[in-house]
């Protein structure tokens, strides 16, 4: 079986984020990492491979030269090979916006790559933790005309069918889809660490580099249909409020504030 796992490199959750001219100031970002949902996707794919050794996992990513680090890590975790679709973000003045293609444009590129590589099953994360829009996987499924399961926690594959477990509010749901299909992952058991053996072998695994142009994506499929008009940092945290008085009064006041001001109870 052939599985494609689409991964995106995003600013590390610990990297400092600042906003200038409605864009994230990429020059301040000192560390990138695989989007955690994509790591879940890879872990789910690896669990299928753990059970069926003839499974082949190909990582696919779209991004600048730095994505090679993430690809190396994915290969060290156990993927078999990788395709990097080269894309240096456009420069806007001094700022380099990491994401200058909108979700549909990205989905168009990735869908073209998927067709070129071939697949039985495609994984993406439910969303990238940078833009948090969550539409690339879903749009890709639509473009490829595939059955889609969003927000999977685990997958079992047998005889051309994938049985998917997903979380629903307060419970669990089991779905079945016939392959080929596209699954977006929202969780998995903790993604594995690369093994030392995997690390030492990662560089010998094939990594192809493609240009977007070589995928024959029409120019209008790359045009952004959505324009960002504003991007703001969340407001700074307000100072805490100290409740004074007798414990009884404090509790009553606390309950009142939780109910009337915070509206959480």
């Amino acid at each position: 079986m052939k599985i494609l796992v689409f991964m995106k490199q995003v600013p590390d959750t610990a990297a400092p984020i600042s906003v200038k001219d409605n864009q994230v100031d990429a020059s301040k970002i000192d560390k990138y990492a695989a989007s955690p949902y994509d790591e879940y996707a890879l872990e789910q794919a690896l669990q299928i491979k753990d059970k069926a050794a003839d499974t082949k996992i190909t990582l696919v990513t779209l991004g600048p030269a730095r994505v090679r680090e993430m690809i190396m890590q994915g290969l060290a975790m156990g993927a078999d090979d990788a395709v990097i679709i080269k894309h240096e973000p456009a420069k806007h003045g001094e700022l380099v916006e990491p994401n200058d293609l909108d979700g549909l444009a990205v989905a168009n590129v990735l869908a073209a790559a998927a067709k070129k590589i071939g697949y039985d099953l495609i994984y993406t994360g439910t969303k990238g933790v940078d833009d948090d829009q969550g539409w690339v996987g879903i749009a890709m499924g639509e473009l490829l005309g595939l059955p889609l399961v969003a927000g999977a926690r685990s997958t079992e594959v047998s005889g051309g069918t994938a049985r998917v477990l997903r979380d629903v509010e307060g419970g669990k749901e089991k779905l079945e889809v016939s392959l080929p299909a596209l699954i977006t992952s929202s969780q998995a058991t903790e993604p594995r660490y690369p093994t030392l053996k995997g690390i030492m072998g990662a560089k010998r695994k094939p990594v192809l580099e493609w240009d977007i142009a070589s995928l024959g994506v029409a120019a209008d499929a790359l045009a952004s249909r959505v324009e960002r008009v504003a991007l703001d940092m969340p407001p700074g945290r307000q100072a805490g409020r100290l409740l004074l008085g007798e414990p009884n009064d404090q509790v009553q006041e606390l309950v009142r504030l939780l109910r009337e001001q915070a509206k959480v109870i």
Binding site: E69, M72, P194, T195, L196, K197, I199, A202, K203
Partner: protein, 382 residues
């Protein structure tokens, strides 16, 4: 010397760093408070190669260089001093003598299970109530051959890992007198009848790394458990300790780096007299010195590891690296607490624990005084 990391070394370092951040750092305070060994984390070390770092691949180890092992131990020390010390001792004190001096059969029997990470850890028992720095003159534990067994009697002190280990390499006197060729190293399973492991010592720091007094009373092990050459135990021990010192140096660098990282973010966020304390020149000078000394210590550790990997003499450099790195971790942690002010003295802030943890590094695997003796002998050529 070129310390540019290859792509694999970078990924290895990053993987161990992430592992350490997720599995060790998050539980370091708990481990310190409870004294419980962090088995949850150690169980995940096998596939990462961390339990057989320099053990050859043919015996199930990772077979990494001393340099790569130092990279890994620094990252473990950065996460949790206790767990890092136990793992460093397992690798460079318990696995190393078997890897260096053991026969093929001994490596198959003892080293392979240790390196696989499937079982428990290893320990090295040198120190005794009356023998620490002076092993040659002080070791009283004896091993006497009888039939096809050694019969071992005596007491050991300060044995790191004894209660979490499957086996101990024990320094014993096999020959009469107290000459330089009267000691030997023998492998003793911790489950052997006659081995009694006392409750863990109550320590200033490193409380998640169990240290034990061990008594050996009429313990019988097969004659084949003697490692290397009978009577060469002291020489074998000293060369094992040379390697171990690189690991302790790396651990010091990791501890110091952790204290520095904590301090840097604290200094940016704590305000006095209308500005962040990191804006006060006195604090900046401390931070600058800390960063400088950490880098110097790290390079000395790298150099010692490099010499070892090149097969060159490294006794002096390893002693220098451990001596200096333990001084650096002391000074860095001292200033880390100073910059934290009162909060640095609180058990709720990590620098308090790291300060206690690093204090051992000037004592274990050769006190600073003994290291100066080693270095002086080398520079004087005596």
């Amino acid at each position: 010397m070129n310390f540019t990391l290859s792509a694999e070394q970078k990924l290895f370092k990053q993987t161990v760093h992430e592992y350490s951040a997720a599995e060790l750092k998050t539980r370091a305070a708990d481990v310190d408070h409870s004294g419980a060994f962090n088995w949850v984390a150690v169980r995940k070390m096998g596939p990462l190669g961390l339990l057989g770092l320099t053990t050859p691949e043919e015996y199930g180890g990772a077979g990494v260089s001393a340099f790569e092992a130092a990279l890994a131990i620094e990252q473990l020390g950065w996460g949790c001093g206790s767990t890092a010390l136990s793992v460093a001792a397992h690798n460079s004190l318990a696995c190393a003598p078997i890897a260096l001096f053991g026969t093929h059969a001994q490596k198959e029997a003892f080293l392979r299970p240790l390196a696989s990470g499937a079982g428990r850890l290893g320990a090295l028992a040198l120190t005794e109530p009356g023998a620490g720095s002076d092993l040659a003159g002080g070791v009283k534990t004896t091993a006497v051959p009888e039939g096809d067994s050694w019969i071992i009697d005596g007491s050991k002190m300060w044995t790191t890992n004894a209660s979490v280990a499957d086996l101990m390499v024990v320094l014993v006197r096999t020959e009469p007198g107290s000459g330089t060729h009267t000691l030997s190293l023998i492998v003793v399973p911790t489950s052997a009848p006659g081995v009694t492991i006392a409750p863990p010592e109550k320590k200033m720091g490193l409380r998640g790394s169990p240290t034990h007094a061990v008594s050996l009373s009429d313990v019988r092990v097969p004659l084949e458990n003697l490692i290397g050459v009978r009577g060469n135990g002291l020489q074998q021990t000293l060369s094992v300790l040379d390697g171990g010192r690189i690991g302790i140096g790396a651990l010091c660098v990791g501890l110091a780096q952790a204290a520095f990282d904590e301090t840097l973010s604290y200094a940016k966020q704590r305000h006095t007299f209308g500005k962040a304390i990191s804006q006060h020149q006195a604090i900046q000078h401390m931070l600058a010195d800390m960063a400088t000394e950490i880098e110097a210590a790290r390079l000395m550790v790298y150099e010692a590891a490099y010499l070892k990997d090149e097969g060159k003499p490294f006794t002096q450099m390893a002693a220098m690296a451990k001596l200096f790195a333990s001084q650096v971790s002391e000074r860095v942690c001292y200033n880390a607490i100073q910059i934290h002010g009162g909060y640095g003295y609180s058990a709720n802030f990590p620098v308090e624990r790291i300060y206690r943890d690093q204090r051992l590094m000037a004592i274990g695997e050769g006190t600073s005084e003994i290291l100066r003796m080693v270095i002086a002998r080398q520079v004087l050529g005596v």
